[in-house]
Amino acid sequence: MTTPLLEVRGIDKSFGPVQVLHDVAFSAHAGEVTALVGDNGAGKSTLVKCVGGIYPIDSGDILFDGKPVQVHGPRDAGTLGIEIVYQDLALCDNLDIVQNMFLGRERRRGLVLDEASMEEMAQETLSGLSVRTVKSIRQQVSSLSGGQRQTVAIAKAVLWNSKVVILDEPTAALGVAQTAQVLELVRRLADKGLAVVLISHNMNDVFAVSDRIAALYLGRMAARVKTADVTHAQVVELITSGRSGDLGIMP
């Protein structure tokens, strides 16, 4: 088996007296969608934020492309090529699509922003992802629908030649058609050779796009399986009780 692009081993994380992650191991492979599932409070978002450098880890290793790395902040993660699309979209409503996609990493010539080349790159990225739903990339984000916003947030993550894209509940607030669009986009990302991590509550989404499933249960990794090897019901059992048949945490 190939080396996973992103791998974490033995991650422990506590907030004060509460230990949220116990010895968690997790990996994501290039060209695959790995679904990270678990009930509320299972530690999905915490794990992602540890990888993204938002929270420091108490102990454990993060390996990128087989090599151990230190992630001390969002910048470090970005440099490695790890991009996280957060649940509460990190977009500024009062800026347009291009401005949002380049936020914090604006291209400039001398002192002046290089608007033209940013616009070109944004357009390229969006058409590379076959996004056809936005009228103008100079539209303010406030005028976009939920699905379009999610698309912009994902495109923003792709723009930086990132290798790992982590999506935190990208379809939670979307309607049927928009969910389909976003899932299609998620699949396209993996087909382009990125390692995609999809956090989701929605079993339909998980089975629709993922290649592997990792189930967290109360801060422990209950099981890491291939999507093709499990059924809907088994995954639900893993999420709710941490085990299913010979899978999961043994008592």
Binding site: I54, L91, D93, L95, G104, R105, A116, Q140
Partner: protein
């Protein structure tokens, strides 16, 4: 379930075609109807107020009164231009008025009491502004005290500081020729026209070049007709203003001639250009809007939010210093009331009336100038109508409330229209 498939919409690539002028106008109307009115209320207000005052008091439309408007409104406008930066972040600076007083007092002390040259006085005043901004911004961003409280405390403290600097209520007069000239002298008429020609020429060149460059790269560019309309309206409005300001406005032209554009006007215009450039064309400006729009998103994008906040307060207080210098120049003196009474509220009013949102993330430096013009016209017109301070305060207060109300309602409307 027959509408599951989303409309395909336009393909991104076709958006590169240049929009027509009709398209631009339609987009603007749509924005206004969606609640994003920008400077529209200020411009309409200005037209209505000027019409009313011109009919009620013909003296309002004379050249001398027109020139007065500029020198009267200059200090408040300059402070408002600085306030835009703080308001963009959704913060407030209630101490800007007295900060301008403190800086003016520093100027007066260095010039008159210490006898130093004017440029040292100006530098000292602006450094004072920078230090005040650093302190306020530090308390807000690093310590985390709400800006309302920090600047309210500073509002009181600076009032005391001004008293200390001017020795408990004496009045320091300023006799330095250069400083006094800023708000009381005028450019020679030829220089006014020359500045006008250069200004309009450069504006037109910048607009044309940008559009051409974008068109060459295949990006959506403003159509020629829109650019011509913009340059044309600037040329007409500025041309009329320069022409009127160059008319003889002395009561007795044989004794002393009084013509030309007041020197504060180019001062304000240069600062307008500088700050507009900073806000619209630099990464710093972009980050300011981002922090005002969604501070958490900005933080996650790796923007140093604290540093942006401190810079905004520094810019605000430095502009207050410039406003203080102009106020001192106009009065030729500094007293404990410089920058006091209504100055701050007029400045906040100017920024908000011009279309800067109190909720952050929306506003331009130009807005402050338009709003400053509205405030100056109200003050000037009410005085001409013979109303006392009581009515002036009441009216300005109501206008400020009206502007803030428009801002809040526009926001609500934008939310309802799904724009926010």
């Amino acid at each position: 379930m027959n509408k599951v498939k989303e409309l395909p919409g336009e393909v991104v690539a076709t958006a590169a075609n240049s929009p027509s002028i009709g398209h631009s106008v339609r987009a603007y109307v749509e924005r206004v109807r969606g609640g994003d009115m920008g400077a529209l209320p200020a411009v309409l207000g200005l037209v209505v107020l000027c019409t009313v005052f011109a009919i009620a008091r013909p003296a309002f439309l004379t050249a001398i009164n027109f020139a007065n408007l500029f020198t009267q409104g200059a200090a408040v406008t300059l402070i408002a231009m600085g306030l835009v930066f703080v308001l963009l972040l959704g913060e407030i600076d209630l101490s800007a008025g007295f900060a301008s007083g403190v800086c003016a007092a520093v100027l007066a002390v260095t010039l008159t009491n210490m006898g130093l040259p004017w440029y040292i006085g100006v530098v000292a005043a602006i450094i004072t502004g920078v230090l005040i901004g650093l302190m306020l911004g530090g308390l807000v961003a690093k310590v985390g005290i709400p800006s309302f409280v920090v600047t309210l405390a500073a509002f009181l403290a600076f009032q005391g500081l001004v008293l200390v600097l001017v020795d408990e209520g004496t009045n320091i007069s300023i006799r330095d020729e250069v400083i006094v000239a800023i708000a009381t002298r005028n450019l020679p008429p030829w220089l006014g026209w020359a500045t006008y020609a250069v200004g309009v020429g450069v504006y037109a060149a910048v607009q044309f070049l940008r559009a051409r460059k974008r068109a060459q790269r295949g990006l959506a560019a403003d159509p020629l007709s829109l650019i011509l309309a913009r340059v044309g309206s600037l040329a007409v409005i500025a041309g009329v203003a320069v022409y009127v300001l160059n008319l003889e406005r002395s009561r007795n032209a044989l004794l002393t001639s009084l013509t030309g554009v007041p020197i504060v006007v180019p001062v304000i215009l240069v600062l307008l250009i500088v700050w507009t450039f900073v806000l619209r064309r630099t990464a710093f400006g972009r980050h300011l809007y981002a922090v005002g729009g969604n501070a958490e998103a900005a933080r996650r994008a790796g923007i140093a939010v604290d540093r942006i906040k401190v810079s905004a307060f520094v810019i605000c207080s430095s502009m207050a210093a410039v406003g203080g210098i102009v106020a001192a120049s106009r009065a030729s003196s500094v007293d404990p009331n410089t920058g006091g009474s209504s100055v701050l509220l007029y400045a906040v009013g100017a920024a908000v009336i011009g279309g800067t949102s109190l909720f952050g993330g929306k506003g331009r430096v130009l807005d402050a100038i338009l709003g400053g013009a509205v405030v100056a016209v109200i003050e000037n017109g009410m005085a001409l109508m013979g109303y006392g301070s009581s009515v002036k305060y009441l009216v300005t207060g109501s206008v400020l409330l009206l502007a803030a109300g428009v801002d809040a309602l526009a926001r609500k409307r934008a939310a309802a229209a799904g724009l926010r």
